[in-house]
């Protein structure tokens, strides 16, 4: 069997084996994870991977030179080899080139899955990075040697991806998706060891913040959520980083803008939910002050009227009950927006985030306060914001009691009739909301319907 046949067969077999283990492994023996880590370390060894890539690139060069001479295209007499080379091309064309990155990704995913199983406390517990409640206790059951080895592995993987970040510039690169997926897995593993107290030589909070400000990475289906989950996990468990990370998360929510991404709204919702989790571990005051700072973003719009600032619109009853001191309002957020599209995106993100945070917290007093503040924004910014407010309030309405539900319905009715806000687009928005509420049994409408 030729070298190429052995190599490609082994890679494909490894991919199949890893997939089966991730799908079907339910419990592990005490020494399995130790032995697995040793084997994974050997398989993702730098020298081995360089040798694999070098052999694969020599195949690709040969194939390219053979193509230029059509007479020699079928000069290889080995049908198995020909089949494997075609398979290699097919994998490359679908964005999964057989090579070092595929090997790394599958092995790291296998290791990640094994960690979750090893730390499972009950049989029916959901396996995964979430939930974040009790995160540190859950993963502290891993032995020190295992955590140390995972820390090393994760750090080396993130380091090697960061060092070769050119793929980020080229969306057509077949390696971009694989690299970002590998980065996501490595990030979660690094986060586990970081929270359990293992020193890691990369500055993990800085890595997370650098991903947050990069739309390409945040738009990735795996890396975006991994970044948000890791940020929330660190913020909730390592209080020295909480303030900085929460601020970065808040800024991400406000400034998230990617016209090419179809899942931006979903990403903002995930981020808002994580922010709610982070803030709920601090205090109610912090939650309210953050919500105020978000509302103030709408107030900072040039078209908004400044006759009554957000802080003076406080329902006294609600505030006295939660002992909120409005002097602790988080500092206003500076916006540097260049276009109207960006401005509209920011306002939409803010309303969506406020609704999601209130929905996640399910606190009656906070909900009452936000209904008042958001209700007073109708007609004060622009039509786009009015539409977002309709959906945002609808989301909040799914967790409130009857009294506040009626307030929201009255607000919706009022905006359709008030000359300052009424227009056919808004009327249609309110009507489509009611239509969707009549057809949905459970769940809640999203801000964009």
């Amino acid at each position: 069997m030729s070298d190429v046949t052995i190599l490609l067969t082994a890679i494909l077999s490894l991919i199949g084996g890893c997939e089966a283990i991730v799908t079907h492994l339910e419990t592990v023996t005490p020494d399995f994870i130790d032995r697995l880590i040793t084997q994974v370390q050997a398989l993702v060894d730098g020298q081995l991977l360089v040798g694999i890539e070098s052999l694969l690139s020599s195949i690709n060069k040969e194939a390219a030179s053979r193509k230029s001479s059509s007479a020699s295209t079928r000069s290889h007499g080995d049908p198995q080899l020909q089949y494997l080379l075609r398979t290699n091309t097919r994998y490359t064309n679908k964005g999964e080139p057989l090579g070092a990155l595929m090997i790394q990704r599958h092995l790291l995913k296998l290791l990640e899955h094994t960690c979750y199983i090893s730390c499972q406390t009950t049989k029916h517990e959901q396996l995964g990075f979430l939930p974040l409640k009790g995160f540190k206790d859950r993963f502290s059951t891993l032995s020190p040697t295992v955590l140390s080895a995972i820390s090393e592995l994760a750090e080396s993987q993130i380091g090697s991806i960061e060092a070769s970040a050119d793929f980020l510039k080229f969306k057509t690169s077949p390696h971009q998706d694989l690299s970002l997926s590998l980065k996501a897995t490595s990030l979660r593993l690094a986060c586990i060891t970081f929270i359990c107290g293992y020193e890691i030589n990369i500055n993990l909070p800085s890595v997370i913040k650098s991903i947050l400000v990069d739309p390409t990475q945040m738009a990735h289906d795996d890396l975006g959520p991994a970044c948000l989950d890791s940020l929330a996990a660190i913020s909730m468990n390592c209080h020295e980083h909480a303030s900085d990370l929460n601020r970065s998360l808040r800024n991400y929510i406000i400034h998230a803008h990617d016209p090419h991404s179809q899942n931006l709204s979903a990403r903002v919702c995930i981020a808002a939910k994580r922010l709610a989790w982070c803030l709920s571990t601090i205090s109610n005051d912090k939650i309210v002050s953050t919500l105020y700072s978000l509302v103030n973003v709408l107030t900072s719009a040039p078209s908004s009227t400044n006759e009554r600032g957000a802080t003076s619109l406080q329902p006294r009853t609600a505030l006295s009950l939660i002992n909120f001191d409005h002097r602790t309002v988080a500092s206003s957020i500076s916006l540097s927006l260049k276009t109207e599209d960006q401005r509209q995106q920011v306002f939409s993100n803010v309303v969506e985030a406020i609704a999601e945070i209130v929905y996640e917290l399910k606190d009656e007093k906070i909900a009452e306060l936000m209904i008042s503040l958001l209700g007073q924004k109708f007609g004060r910014v622009n039509d786009g914001v009015d539409k977002s407010l309709v959906w945002g309030l609808a989301k909040i309405s799914t967790i409130v009691k009857e009294k506040d539900y009626r307030r929201i319905l009255k607000l919706h009715a009022k905006v359709r009739l008030d000359p300052a806000t009424a227009n056919s687009a808004l009327t249609e928005t309110v009507l489509s909301l009611f239509r969707s509420m009549l057809t949905i049994d459970h769940g809640c409408p999203s801000v964009h319907g």
Binding site: D3, I6, L12, G16, G17, A20, T29, L43
Partner: protein
């Protein structure tokens, strides 16, 4: 006669790989073997220890295959 006329075209299509839609046998075999070993392991604690040991041995074999391929290529290119 029709077959003789179209056989070379069909052969071209097969070689070009347009009809290669399924997972390769190597990947399928790797998946099935690992799955079967895990299923056997779920029958008793002793079998579980043995089966998980087999999975580690399997990964070692893959590593050896990689090293063999690289050393084979190295010796032939020299």
């Amino acid at each position: 006669m029709l077959y003789e006329q179209y056989a070379p075209i069909l052969q071209e299509i097969l070689i070009a790989g347009d009809i290669d839609m399924e997972d390769t046998p190597s990947r399928q075999l790797g998946y099935s073997l690992a799955k079967t070993v895990l299923q056997i392991g779920s029958l008793s604690p002793k079998l579980k220890i043995r089966s998980q040991g087999l999975l580690i041995d399997y990964l070692e074999k893959v590593q050896r295959a990689f090293m063999d391929a690289i050393s084979y290529e190295g010796s032939h290119s020299n």
